[in-house]
Amino acid sequence: MSKSFYGTVLSSPLMLGTAQYPSPDILRDAVRAARPGVVTVSLRRESAGERAGQAFWGLIQELGVPVLPNTAGCHTVKEAVTTAHMAREVFGTDWIKLEVIGELDTLQPDVFGLVEAARVLTEDGFKVFPYTTEDLVVAERLLAVGCEVLMPWGAPIGSGKGLNNVFGLRAMRAHFPDVPLVVDAGIGVPSHAAQALELGYDAVLINTAVAKAGDPALMAEAFRFAVQAGVLARTADPMEERDMAVPSTPVAGKALLA
């Protein structure tokens, strides 16, 4: 049973970023191949002459996929809150992927600023998708200020290292069985996405893994199938790991030939 995100059931557990593609045409092909439930978008300064943002907005409308704006690059609560307000007006949605970056080498969230920004934005009527870590105490604080979704990192943004702390992600899943959880950041290949869904995560957010692949549209298709496999596997209830071998072929009835 798919969990809803602030009352909305996504058509796919794949959330796809729109940045870093070689061209708008390749982005379009990748989105069509991935069939994501949402695409993430951002805001940047607009030049009156180039109007690059207007062309991008046209492409987003053409694709017809729900958008999740982010506050990428924000390092303070004030920056993030102001950016969220601008995004709500421009994109016409009260969903916001809240990033308050705390450290440049890892781009890990400033979880203290994150909780405060989430509190302010929730009070302002936003539906906040906080980019956080797998820390359970921070997660509790985010839920306490009104977040109904949590987005822990798998690994640092853009690193492609997959699920760095499977134990922590598993603990988070077990601790918050009813909260929609999304692995955001660090996924490098489709097997990482499948693994997140096998762990019981409700969605994955991917950007660099598709955009920086040699063939982004083909990789997008691979992720589409990977998330389907992950959901099916989770539903099918995976076997438990064992430390020792157990024969899969029946021993009974084996001929005595020694």
């Binding site: 729109t18 607009e46 007006e89 994109f91 950007n207």
Partner: protein, 65 residues
């Protein structure tokens, strides 16, 4: 009046943020605005008076992860 738009100095005749948007050629564009670090929603642009040295941000949809 001299103001700063997206980190570039501009000499403008506009008196309000709404007039500035038109004067700079953003008319009809899907943009959001801030003045001196504070968000200015569309309905407030016409009554937002510019002052010399104001820092204006004009942003639009962009690719994001």
């Amino acid at each position: 009046m001299q103001i700063v738009v997206n980190d570039e100095a501009h000499e403008v005749s506009a008196k309000t943020l709404a007039a500035l948007i038109d004067e700079l050629g953003y008319g009809g564009a899907r943009v959001a605005t801030a003045m001196d670090g504070s968000f200015v929603p569309v309905p407030y642009r016409a009554r937002t008076v510019l002052r010399d040295g104001a820092r204006i941000e004009i942003v639009a949809p962009m690719q994001g992860g």
